[in-house]
Structure formats: C-alpha cells, structure tokens
Symmetry: C2
Amino acid sequence: METPIAVLGGTGAEGSGLALRLARAGLPIIIGSRDEARARATANTIRTQVGPDTIVEGTANPEAAARSRLVILTVPFAAQLPTIQSVRDRLAEGTVLVDVTVPLAAAVGGRATRTLGVWEGSAAEQAAAAVPNSVSVVAAFHHLSAQHLSDLSHPVDSDVLVCGDQREAKERVRKLVDAVPGARYVDAGPLANARIVESITALLIGINIRYKVAGSALRITGIESPP
Amino acid sequence: METPIAVLGGTGAEGSGLALRLARAGLPIIIGSRDEARARATANTIRTQVGPDTIVEGTANPEAAARSRLVILTVPFAAQLPTIQSVRDRLAEGTVLVDVTVPLAAAVGGRATRTLGVWEGSAAEQAAAAVPNSVSVVAAFHHLSAQHLSDLSHPVDSDVLVCGDQREAKERVRKLVDAVPGARYVDAGPLANARIVESITALLIGINIRYKVAGSALRITGIESPP
C-alpha cells in the first residue's frame, strides 16, 4: 500500500507548485505546514485546480511526515533544520526525504544569487546529518520554477538533477519526476554533488534577473534518458 | 586591426578542439604551448582539417600571448598559475584572458568528478588575481566536450555560460561563442559565479561516466537568446 506523498512547507510557492503537479498526476498528497489551517487551505486550492477527486489534504508538518514514506522538504534554508527537528521523531524507518533546500544567502539577508557555505557541504548533506540513519535523503527538484509549476498551462521544460547515496531511494524519486510531464530524471551522482546542484539554483536566479524571465531551468545535452 | 586569438595550452584536447572550431569559423589563431614544436604540429593538424587557407600558427605561450589581445587559457588546473606567470609580462593592456580552467581534484590525484576549493573562490578568480590589472578575465567554455569539439562532424549542443565583471570584455567573448555553431552565449553573471560554472564541469564528468557518453553538456531553458 503506497502512502501519500508529504510535502513539508507545502504552502510555500515551490512546495505548493510541486504538490499541484504531483496531485495532477494522480498521486495522493498531504500538504504539511507549521500552520495546519494554511495547509488545509492550500490542499483546497489544489483540489479546486485539479478536480474534486484529487486526493489531497493538509495538516501539520509532523503529522504529514508521520503518514508518509516519501517526504518532500520544500522550505527556505533558514527553516530547514527547525522543520527537520520538528518531524524527526515521526519519520518511519525506510522513509525517503527528498530535500529541495538551497542555501541561498538570502537566508541571512544576502542575495538570492549567492549561496552560503554549509558545514556538511550542502543543504542536502546537512539534512542527511539531521535525520535518523534509517531515513535516506535524496536531493532533487531544485531547478523547477515555482511560478511555472503553479501554472498548469505552463509546460515544465527542465531536467531534474537527482543526488543520493542509495540507489533504491533515488528510484523512488524517479517516479515522482516521471509524474511531471516535461521533467526528466538525470542521475547527478552521490548526495555530496548536491553542493553543485544546489548552487546552480543561485546561478539560475541570476539568469532570471538578467534575462527578465520567471523560470530559467536546465537540460543536460548529449545523454539518452536512462539509466 | 584584429589580433589573432591565442590559445594557450592549445595542444591539449580542450584547447586544440576549441582552436579547431574557431579556425573553422575563419578566425586567425595562434596555438601556444610550453613546447613550440608541439604548438606548430597542432597548428598544422588544424590547417589540414580546416583547409590550406586557414590562418593558424604555433609558437611558445609567451609569444602567443604577446601577439594577441584575446587570449584563451585551456590548461589543467595545476598548470594554470605557472602558465599565467610565464606570460604575465607579455600581456598587453586591454587584453581579455578567457579562462577555461576547472579546479578538478584530479590536479592533486583526486577525482575528476570533484573540485578543489580555491582560495580566491574559483580558478577564474585566481587567474584574475594573477594577471595585471589592465587585463580582464572572463570565464567561459568549460562545458564544451573536447572530444566533440575535435570532431568537426559532431554538432556542438551546448550553452556557454560566461562570467565576468567587465561588460565589454564579455562582449568580445560573445563573438567567440557565436563563431561556434550550436554554442549559445548565456550571461552567467559576475566572475565570482565561475565558482558555480566551473563546478558544473565536475558534475558533467560524473554524468559522462554514469551515462557512458563522451560529452554531456547543458542548455538553459526558459530564456530567449540575448541580452
């Protein structure tokens, strides 16, 4: 029996956009938030957009985490560790935590076109150090524009660079990527490569500013689709 | 009067491939090398590939640098500073140095899928600290596969992410990018962004290994061509 996909921080722009696309693909979703009422409101909005049969609900982050084995974390960098700490004891063994966090300097009043240095090397590795050993962290979805995701009429045109150290956990994330038309899974190597993948987000934010667009993203050329 | 384009380290795989493509576009080229005879041999090979009227010659790095106002540096990271030091006094005021260096951990016996930390932030910023103030450093061309460049029948399918702090210098590099069919200039922001752009090379090398290809590269989606 598949558990629903929890999207922690799912009331934010990136999280709600991703949840919208996954719900549209027919996947059951639980929106998590610090504020349960806002989580329910976002769930209702998604249901309105996708259709009355959509399986989507909203609840507090810890309950959302507890009811899922595939938990997506989409919060600003400053909220990453507090959110993980608030759900840590509720993560079941074997859960995959999909970390979308980017350590933008904006977290400390700096620019969104720059990243902070993270002691562990990347936000994803920081997450891996903060969850129980029985939880696998996979980094993914950093480059999908929140604005594009939230507009169902806008096709996604981006690869999803996926980093992680457990093959099986990455394969579970591949299914999420495949559920979003226009997104393509690319195996970007071990979790430590999130150092590079996260920083690309800052580069794309700068490109958005210079090119006056809402959602530059990227495609890897020269490869065929799998492995 | 346009000076020729010097390609320092132009006997290597990346440098000779890039020189080949620029020569094919009709740009006059000087191959530079520590070894003058090898530089001449590479120049002859390029002339054979492109045609007898090709303006390409080979000489020692310092002379190549002295005769050009647009100098491309394509050497392994361990050779970057020694090469700059060997040509530093020969760089004319107003020269643009196009740095293609990537600080791969392979430089110290580590993996080509990882980068080293560079004190200045990136290889390009290290170069900028090592050249006279009258020379502008622009970082570019990191993601074009040497193997693909060297095979004229293989179309280039990659954006070129260009970082630099002087607009005019970047515009001179745009002309080089535009001379390579299939390559597209993307303004990747200030020189400090080379930290990100260089590290993407390590990511692509890992993708080459996992996907068993010779030259993965990347395209930015969601933008129109200029600015």
